[in-house]
Each structure stands twice: as C-alpha cells, then as structure tokens.
Amino acid sequence: MKITIEKDVFAEQVAWVLRCVSARATLPALGGLLLEARGEGLRMAGTDLELSGETSAGARVEEPGRAVVPGRVLGEIARSLPQGVVRIEAGASETKISCGSAEFALRLLPVEDIPALQFVSQAPGGTLERALFQTAVGQVTRAASRDEARPVLTGTLVEADAGKLMLVATDSYRLAVREIAWKGPSEPVRRVIPARALQEAARGAEGEGELQVLLGESQAVFAGSGRRLGTRLIEGEFPNWRQLVPGELPNRLRVKRDDFIEAVRRVGILAQSGSPVRVELSAEGVQLAAGTQDIGQASERVEGTYEGEPVTVSFNPQYLLDGVQAVEGNDVVLSVRDGQKPVLIRGADDAGGFTYLAMPIRVGG
C-alpha cells in the first residue's frame, strides 16, 4: 500500500479511531490500528472488543493495500508531524510514515490477528441531532455504576419506540432518565449499552448532519459522516426503573441552579469520608450543613421558594451535584417526601425531558 494524505486530516482520523483501541491490550493486535487504502481514500479501523470504530477520509491512493500498526504510537506520531502531506508506505516488514524530513518505520503487526470488524447495518433505529445526543448521554451516564460486580448497572438502558428515545442509568443509589423525541422504530426496542462506550460514542459524535443509531441484537452502532462506532451490549435484566420514580411529591423547592451548585460544593468540602451534607428545607429556602468532629463544620443558606412541610434530608454531596449539574436551565426543582425517600430533581421549565433521583443517607443508628 502507498498513499499520501493531508496531515491534519490524518491526525484527526487517527485520534478519532484510537478511542476504540485499547491502551493496555491483552492481545497485541487489540492495540493495533488497521489502515486500508482503497479507491479514493484511507479507511482506519480498530477495536478493543467492547468498542469498534472505523473512519474513512479522502487520500491519494497510489497502491491499494492493508497494514496493521501499533495504535498508540501512531497516534503520537500523527499528532506531532509537521504541517504538510503525509506519505504512508507499507512494505513486507514495516510501514514507513514520512512528512517533511521526518520519517518513521514501524514494525508491522500481522493483519490476520486483528479481530474481524463487523458493524450491524440492518437493525431497528432512528436518527438524532448530534448535540442533543451528546447532552443526553452526559446527563444520564454519570448515574451509571462503576462497580463491575453488577454488570447490568454499568450500562445505560436505551428504550426506543416510534416517538421517543429514553436513556436511563442507575447505580442503585441514584437514577437518571432523559427522554428525547425522535422518529424511531415502529416496534419498541430495549438495549443496555456499556456507559463508557456510550460516552465514547457521544465524544466521537462531532460532525456534520444527523447521527444514525442502530440498535441490533448484539451491537449498537452510531454512524454518520463516514464514521461508524459499534459497541457490544450488556446482557441481563435492567431494573424496572419506572416504578422507582415517585409520582407527585408533597414538598417542592425551587432554587437558582448555579447558586445551589456553588453552595453544595462549598459546604461539601467538610463532608469528608462518607459523611453527608444535610439539607434543611423550610419556608425560608434551603440551609446546607456538613461537618465532622475531627475537622469542623460548614453551613450555608441558599435563597429559594419552598412549598411544603419543613423537611431535613442528608445526601452524599456528589450525588446531589451530579443531578443538579445535569439539569438544563436557570432554575432547578427539588421535590422530596421525607428523609428516607429519594429526592426528585428536575429543571423548572423542563417538564419531561430529564429526571434525576438520589437516595438520601440515613444518619445515626
């Protein structure tokens, strides 16, 4: 194979596909990146067995062919090359990459060792606006579990039907749900996508036009702009989240989102090693407090409008922040029943779009 390609284009494509290449691969080929010159362009592909990605870009192909090169090293090379035209030439034992007077010769990895990259092309799905997809994934995946002991909770549930797409994640201490209107499949589909993979898909969703989503039986694919990213799915039964979301709650606080975030951050400094932030809700608004005997105390009042009985409820400050930060808009509404039931967090003007639940910490014996 022999090609030339614009340096910026090359570097961008390599950076994109490297998100699918394992940094610490158990098989050498899993750290490898496939370069394939054909027709009018260069195709690059890689996989870490969870994520698979491929991208194509225009290049001048002098001689078609394929080569597998070590991914991370190629990434560093691509970033560091001088401006200009990059020339790639794969021989029998090495791949030469040159640009200006810089030249690299990389040992080849065997082409046949790289796992076959397959992407489902026929599956139920729909199309989405890219920015909306990125926002929604950011809002929801933060609630997914990082504890591999319960694999299904490390995933994000995707529920799609003709009219809407729901993204749901929970680590059993909190739950985040985002609803997006779309034109989807006529038959409802439920899939659980690893949260990390979904985050990579969202990060990689920069580009032009709409993003195509395919929800296959064993793979979900996000495609568009000459790129495809596929992820394996998680098997297992996702919790019945609808029954966890409470209906009307009697006590409602409306506060300025940014003020509340700042205050929780400040008071949270003294909520150390698992001690909670106490949230006291009353007609005057909300009083936050935290502290331990060893270090000291913190408290802060935040203005707000409160309807309901005075209630005190304690939280892991991070769980509270994750929810409030995910809300869009200036004002956030927190609804509670009592100190042992979840708080429901929503944007003040965002009725159905995003819902976040966090369970409190029970204090004392």
Binding site: E148, S314, G364, G365
Partner: protein, 440 residues
C-alpha cells in the same frame, strides 16, 4: 522476698483487677442531656415497629423492660415509656471522658465497649491506695465530673471482676477477695458465668446443676460425656473462677480484623461463604462495641499453596453492619474468580474508621433495612448470655449437635443473599430483603 522494691512497700493485693461498668449508660446520657427525662421510664432504642431496646433506665427496668427486647413489647409492659433514638457519637464522647478518668489511675485500661472497661491496678497502689479505695474514687469522680453512675467489680481476675460488678449494680462496688472466691461463686446461678448461655444452663439444669457451686463438683466424666471434653474442661475452669487473661491496654485501632486458619483446607463454596459471613460478623461486632464504623473492607485469602491475595473495597458509606461487611467481602471474593480454590486462611478487615454508628447510604426501591438493629440486638444478647447465645443460622447449621449452644432461630436461613449475585436495585432486591426480614 523477690520483687520487694523499696522498704515499706507491701506486696500488691491479689484483687488487682477492676471492672468498671456504666449503669444504663445510653439511657443515663440521654437523661443527663435532657433533664425532662430524669426519673422517667426511659429506653434508648430505634423507634418504629421493628425497633429494639438498646439501653433501659432503672425506672424502666422496674416495669420488666430489658435490653434486647423489641420496643413494641417494652411499650406494652410500660405504656408511659419514653423511647429516644440512639446518638452513638454522643455516647462515645461521654465514654472518652470517663476513660480519661480511668487513665488518670493507670495506663493499664482495656476498653471492652463504650460502657465497660477493665483496669489492672497492681502498679497504682502506691499512689492511689488499695484497689477498693481506687474503685471508690473512680465512682466518685465519674459521678461528680460526669454526672453518671457506674458499678465497679474488684477481683483477682477479669472473669470475677465482671461478675462482681454485675452483682453490685446499680451504683455499687462488689469485691471478690482472693481467699473468698468459692464463697462468692458457689451460690450464684450458673448463667452468671461468662459464656454460659441459656442452652448450657438448661442442660446443666437437667443434670441438677443450678449453681456454680454445684457445677464445681460435677463429675468431670459426666461433663465430658454431655458437653464434650473441651467444653467440659472450660466449664470446670469457669466454675473455679479461673481466668488468666491479662488486661490489654487500649490503643486507638486503625483497623479491626478477624482471620482464621482452617484445620483442613476449605473448598466447598457454601463453606467459604459461611466463613466469610462469620468473619464479617465478628469484625462488624467489634466495630460496634468500639462505637465505630468503617469505610473500607479488605479480604485476605491464602490458598493451600500459600499464595496470598488481598482485595480492598471502599464502601459508599461507613458501616458497622455485618450484612454490609459481608456483602463487600463476598463480592470481592467472587471477583477473584478462583477456580476450585483450596483455601487455607480467610481474613476480613475493616479500616478507614470513623466515630459513630455510621450513616447509611440508602438504595433506590429498597425500604431501609433493619440489619443494623438486628446486629445491636444480637450484641446485647451476646453481652448477657455469651458469645454463642445468638448466631446467624447460616453459620450455626453446620455445627455438630451439642458441640456448642445452638442458635436463636433454627428455622430459615440467615437471610443473607449470596454475595456477588448481580442483583439490580429495586423490586428484586427489596423483595428479597422483605422476605428475609420476615424470617429473622
């Protein structure tokens, strides 16, 4: 005379061990903080239908209210009973102040729990007088400086000092002179002995043995036939009032751990889980008696070939609950994915210690469980009847009949889920917990 240090020094008295036991400690602290509660029949316990009495004032005890009794039952015995929720951080604070007083007498103080400590005063005689005088001074200072009552047992060893303080309650001093041990022990009912639970008591009763004096003359052959040679020898030594355990001075613990080397390697998954559960239970129980909770759980696994692995996990919130320690240790064990392991040693440790009962991060769709209350009830029962009085059914089932006193609830399992089972939050798990709650 060997050991005679300076002229005029007397040999230290044989009754050198003090057991200081606060009277109705939690309830007394509550009454101290809220004068309106003084003189009222008062208990500290968790409110609600499943709550348990953790500490009862002497006014409440007059109605028959006792520790470890369900709050509902206590309320029936005494309709005007005041039930206050526990504040362990506060009890620990008060406990530390009382300890300051004890440390001013001798550095040889061993804390047993928030409301109990042993002192070895053999070295304190020259400064502070006879042990009985020291005991009197401690009681006076605790009363004057902290406003609390305690009882003190003075005896040649820990076993006898503990029995003596109990005999002296409330608000008294009990002395067992070294030459009066038999006189002191003989008339006592056998269940006063540390480790003699209801089952052993009733077995002894069938043999016509009701008092310690009768136990002391029980034929060794008969005892060995009924209890097995090991337990029989132990009973005989208890009946003599013998106890060689030293007073081990208090050090603030950085971690609490329990480990076990097995006589033969474990290989059955059931057995391994049971041992992890037993060790978790032990660790959590020690956390509770020291008024602490742990943020991090570590397991240690040594295989038959002496390979040793350890794994740690930090919990969402600090805990002193056996079920939580077990869930973490069981999950970690599962994650090791050992193929048909042969296990020589298992250990469970808790670190990242914080004061207090530990706040508990609740889970979605799960009603707040009551493992914490169950554990505290177990503590109280063990305190009264000995370590073996209450055992998780999952641990106890394995024991050969008669080897040790059996358990409180023979039917059903311990209710602990097998670790590592990928249970989602919500209904599945809460249903399981609800089921186990009914059983326990």
């Amino acid at each position: 005379m060997p050991g005679a240090a300076s002229p005029g020094s007397r040999p230290p008295p044989a009754e050198r061990i003090l057991h200081v036991d606060m009277d109705a400690f939690y309830a007394s602290v509550e009454a101290l903080d809220d004068p309106a509660l003084r003189g009222a029949p008062l208990v500290v316990g968790s409110p609600g239908p499943r709550g348990v009495v953790m500490s009862a004032s002497y006014e409440a005890r007059r109605f028959g209210v006792r520790s470890a009794m369900p709050s509902v039952r206590a309320r029936r015995l005494c309709p005007e009973l005041v039930i206050v929720p526990p504040r362990f951080v506060r009890y620990r604070e008060e406990s530390d102040r009382v300890l300051d007083i004890l440390f001013s007498v001798t550095p040889l103080v061993e804390t047993v729990s928030l409301d109990e400590a042993f002192l070895d005063v053999s070295g304190a005689g020259r400064l502070f007088g006879l042990p009985i005088e020291i005991a009197g001074r401690i009681r006076a200072r605790v009363r004057e400086e902290r406003g609390l009552a305690c009882s003190v047992g003075v005896a040649p060893n820990k076993l006898l000092a503990k029995i003596a303080s109990r005999q002296a309650k409330p608000d008294g001093i009990g002395v067992v002179p070294a030459d009066g041990v038999r006189r002191f022990l003989n008339p006592l009912p056998v269940d006063r002995l540390w480790g003699v639970g209801p089952e052993t008591t009733s077995t002894l009763g069938r043999l016509g043995v009701r008092t310690v004096g009768e136990l002391a003359v029980l034929s060794a052959d008969v005892a060995a036939r009924v209890f097995g040679p090991g337990p029989a020898a132990h009973l005989a030594s208890l009946a003599r009032g013998a106890d060689e355990r030293p007073v081990i001075p208090y050090e603030p613990a950085k971690q609490v751990s329990a480990e076990q080397t097995f006589d033969r390697d474990l290989d059955a998954p059931e057995e391994i889980r049971r041992e992890l559960l037993r060790l978790s239970d032990k660790v959590a129980s020690r956390l509770r008696t020291s008024g602490r909770a742990a943020r991090t759980v570590t397991i240690k696994v040594r295989l038959a070939n002496f390979t040793t692995v350890t794994r740690s996990r930090t919990l969402v919130a600090a805990t002193d609950v056996a079920a939580r320690v077990y869930r973490a240790s069981g999950d970690m064990f599962q994650d090791l994915r050992l193929a048909r392991p042969r296990i020589r040693l298992l250990g469970v440790a808790a670190s990242g210690l914080v004061d207090g009962a530990g706040p508990e991060q609740l889970r979605l769709g799960e009603r707040p469980d009551r493992w914490g209350d169950a554990d505290r009830a177990v503590d109280r029962a063990r305190e009264r009847f000995g370590r073996d009085a209450v055992e998780r059914a999952a641990i106890a089932r394995r024991r050969p009949r008669g080897a040790r006193p059996p358990t409180a609830s023979p039917q059903g399992s311990s209710g602990l889920p097998p670790p590592g089972s990928p249970a989602p939050p919500g209904n599945r798990e809460s249903a399981r917990d609800a089921r186990t709650r009914r059983r326990s």
